[in-house]
């Protein structure tokens, strides 16, 4: 009984803290948790505030989108577009425009992930959401003190907290290094032997291609999601993230591109390569765009999204 009393006491105390001083900006303790947090913010947040949505893997998860433009980036690092589409299908009013990254379309729906983010408790009680978990609340509290302006100015907070790893919501080194210009390393290391080995490994994976049966299954699934979203007034656009030119021509990606083009009419695709030359783009590991390119691609995509919304 004493234990139960203590549990209620601490629970109430914590609930009061979270209610009185909610985290100003969610901070997560890792990439996977950031995925879950991002998904919950999308599911339980204000849907009216989003007119466009970006869905995909870590390739698009790194594209900086501003809430000012009402674009929400639901790219899931290590995840798939299918998981993102499943999340969209669970909300009552989906955004008008949904951009779906096709690079890893063969990845299936992660049901465990969906289960972990869309629980009844989290849906009804905000205390049980990822962003309000005590560890994340503590991290967020240290980064953005709830009493507003801190005694230390913003840049000092960053320099003070950087050794503690509290400067960004996504803890992945590459995520922070490549996509946030002010944090990007001043001196980029030139691609060395390790990079070449990395590309070689990825090329062999790409060369193996993808099981056609699996791919067809995914496309069927994608078609069904698109149909449901269109019935609810959303427009779906498929796009491809640029990768290293050697991988761009890999068997797997060519296969994905070809089969998608044969299933969906041209108006479903947005091909930025017609406007921008990607051949000179550099990546951090062959797949993920490097800092400047990431910004560049994101700004072009933002423009296109704004154009299509209007």
């Amino acid at each position: 009984m004493r234990t139960v009393f203590c549990l209620f006491f601490f629970g109430t105390l914590y609930w009061l803290c979270v209610t009185l001083w909610p985290p100003l900006k969610p901070v997560y303790s890792g990439m996977w948790e950031a995925n879950r947090g991002k998904a919950q913010v999308f599911l339980f947040g204000d849907h009216e505030e989003r007119s466009a949505l970006l869905i995909g893997s870590s390739l698009s998860a790194r594209l900086p989108m501003s809430s000012k433009d009402k674009i929400y980036n639901l790219g899931l690092s290590g995840g798939s577009a299918m998981t993102g589409l499943e999340l969209v299908s669970r909300i009552s009013n989906p955004p008008k425009l949904i951009f779906v990254e096709i690079n890893y379309i063969e990845r299936g729906l992660d049901e465990k992930f969906i289960e972990s983010v869309d629980s009844t408790l989290a849906r009804r009680i905000s205390l049980f959401r990822i962003e309000n978990r005590p560890l994340n609340y503590f991290l967020s509290f240290m980064r953005n003190p709830p009493w507003g302006k801190s005694a230390i100015d913003k840049s000092d907070i960053h320099s003070f907290l950087r050794p503690l790893g509290l400067t960004e919501s996504v803890s992945d080194l590459k995520d922070r290094a490549v996509c946030v210009p002010e944090q990007a390393p001043k001196k980029q290391r030139p691609p060395g032997k390790a990079f070449e080995i990395n590309i070689k490994q990825k090329k062999s994976i790409e060369a193996a291609g993808v099981n056609r049966k699996v791919l067809l299954e995914r496309i069927k699934q994608l078609q069904s999601y698109i149909d449901k979203l269109e019935q609810r007034g959303a427009k779906v656009v498929l796009f491809e993230m640029p990768v290293n030119p050697q991988l761009q021509k890999g068997k797997r990606l060519v296969q994905v591109r070809k089969i998608l083009r044969s299933h969906f009419p041209p108006q479903y695709f947005y091909d930025m390569s017609k406007v921008v030359d990607f051949s000179s783009f550099t990546t951090s590991d062959g797949l993920h765009l490097a800092g400047a390119e990431c910004q560049f691609f994101a700004s072009h995509l933002r423009q296109e999204i704004m154009k299509q919304i209007q």
């Binding site: 234990t3 790893g165 080194l173």
Partner: protein, 467 residues
């Protein structure tokens, strides 16, 4: 069924009430056996067939040993039973060491292929070891209990069934010796439950598993290939420490939950962990880590092999054999065998340099250095658990040596530190002999429960489930 799942909570509650209903008192043992079988069959009912076969082998042969008239008959039946148990284990666990299932799929057809491709039944390593323990204990008859234990056939079958399938320890131990479990089989009363022990064990266990191990999993993900290649020496070292904390929290957490659950049903299982990361030697580590396995290996393998009674060289050989087989027990991969050898060789070297290693035995600095050395040694060993591909282990170690410099990604280490803190405090509290009285214990339990409810990580299977 996972201990941390909602299904298990409902299952356990129902079984608990059925178990203690006065009208079912006479059938308590049957209730527990039936519940354990449901628990085991929850995801793959087909596996019950193998479990049933294993139970029959162990119960028939042990009954044969108990009732045989002469010693040669007893030894023959016991040997047959042990060999049969080992064959079941060897076939299901180690067959894939010798052939590639994908090749088999392409070449053969028919029932041989079906049998050869049967998956590894969950918990097989544990229940076959229980079976062997029963046979050996019945044969030796050394304990007071087995000297006087003369049951009828059906009584023995049910006792054996409960011993082998008792659900808190069925999937991942602790490995209970039959001489410790059989005497406990009797009618249990609700009033006899040791609530403090059961609740404390379960709360600490669930905290270690759900809050520490499951959240740590997200951080140590970066140890996997190819991600480790991008990290510096410092980060890789911190990740390795994180994994040591994770594997401890995962397995010790599971064991504590098992102990607490067993206590709810009136059974006392042996402690499986005794603060292993304060060990000052590798030998001491094995007296504190997975105690039930190490004592099983000592009693049923090391001592029968001759232990340390047959000279120095033979002792070293015995240590290496036992640790090698202990490593292989964990899984059908050479990385586990190498992990066993790593510890076996470590034990031999430590034994050889015993006097040098224990210089200044009571000096605090020396004690800390020894603890640090053992922790580092053990942590390197965990690489074989985390990275089951041997080339990745080599890659990780070479990255650890070559990626020098102070390039430091602070995010992961900071979270690893926060998550390791409770485990460090847990060990420190033991060293400082801190005993909590009623209210501080309740406050601590309240805090732990609060974290279990609000800060549990994503559900990840227990590391030892694969064994």
């Amino acid at each position: 069924m996972d201990f941390t799942s909602g299904d298990f909570f409902v299952f356990c509650t129902v079984v608990f009430f059925l178990y203690y209903i006065p009208v079912l008192h006479k059938w308590q043992q049957l209730v527990l056996i039936a519940a354990s079988l449901v628990f085991y069959a929850w995801q793959a009912p087909i596996l019950l067939v193998l479990l049933a076969c294993s139970c029959l082998i162990s119960s028939w042969s042990s009954y044969g040993v108990l009732t045989a008239n002469n010693s040669s008959g007893r030894i023959r039946i016991a040997a047959l039973g042990v060999v049969a148990n080992l064959m079941v284990l060897a076939f299901f666990k180690y067959k894939f060491l010798f052939f590639d299932p994908s090749q088999l799929r392409a070449i053969h057809a028919g029932w041989t292929r079906t049998v050869l491709l049967l998956p590894l039944p969950i918990g097989i390593s544990f229940y076959t070891f229980h079976g062997i323990s029963l046979l050996v204990d019945c044969y030796r008859g050394k304990s007071d209990f087995f000297e006087q234990y003369k049951p009828n056939f059906w009584r023995h079958i049910f006792d054996t069934l409960l011993y082998l399938v008792f659900f808190p320890q069925l999937i991942a131990g602790p490995i209970v010796k039959s001489k410790d479990f059989f005497p406990q089989i009797q009618i249990k009363r609700f009033t006899q439950i040791n609530w403090d022990y059961a609740c404390n064990s379960m709360i600490v266990g669930f905290f270690l598993k759900m809050v520490i191990a499951n959240n740590m999993q997200d951080q140590t993900f970066w140890m996997n290939a190819p991600y480790y290649k991008a990290h510096s020496t410092l980060n890789l070292s911190i990740l390795l420490i994180g994994y040591s904390v994770q594997i401890f929290a995962d397995f010790a957490g599971y064991s504590l939950i098992a102990l607490g659950l067993a206590a709810l049903f009136g059974y006392r299982l042996p402690e499986n962990f005794n603060f292993p990361y304060i060990s000052q030697s590798i030998a001491e580590f094995w007296q504190r880590w997975h105690i039930s396995l190490s004592s099983w290996l000592r009693d049923y393998l090391y001592i029968p092999l001759g232990g340390n009674r047959k000279g120095m060289l033979r002792t070293y050989l015995n240590l290496i054999i036992v640790m090698f087989l202990g490593g292989l027990w964990h899984g059908a991969a050479w990385s586990f065998a190498i992990w066993g050898l790593w510890h076996g060789v470590g034990l031999c070297v430590e034994r050889f340099f015993f006097k040098i290693f224990f210089v200044g035995a009571s000096n605090r600095v020396m004690i800390m250095l020894r603890v640090l050395f053992v922790f580092t040694f053990v942590s390197f060993g965990w690489l074989f658990f985390k990275l089951q591909n041997f080339s990745d282990v080599i890659g990780y170690v070479s990255a650890l040596i070559t990626h020098l410099g102070w390039r430091f990604d602070p995010a992961v280490p900071w979270v690893i530190f926060l998550l390791s803190l409770p485990v460090i405090i847990y060990h420190l509290a033991y060293i400082l002999c801190i005993k909590l009285t009623m209210w501080p214990r309740a406050i601590l339990n309240g805090i732990l429960l609060f974290f279990i409810i609000t800060n549990a990580g994503p559900n990840v299977a227990f590391v030892y489930f694969q064994f």
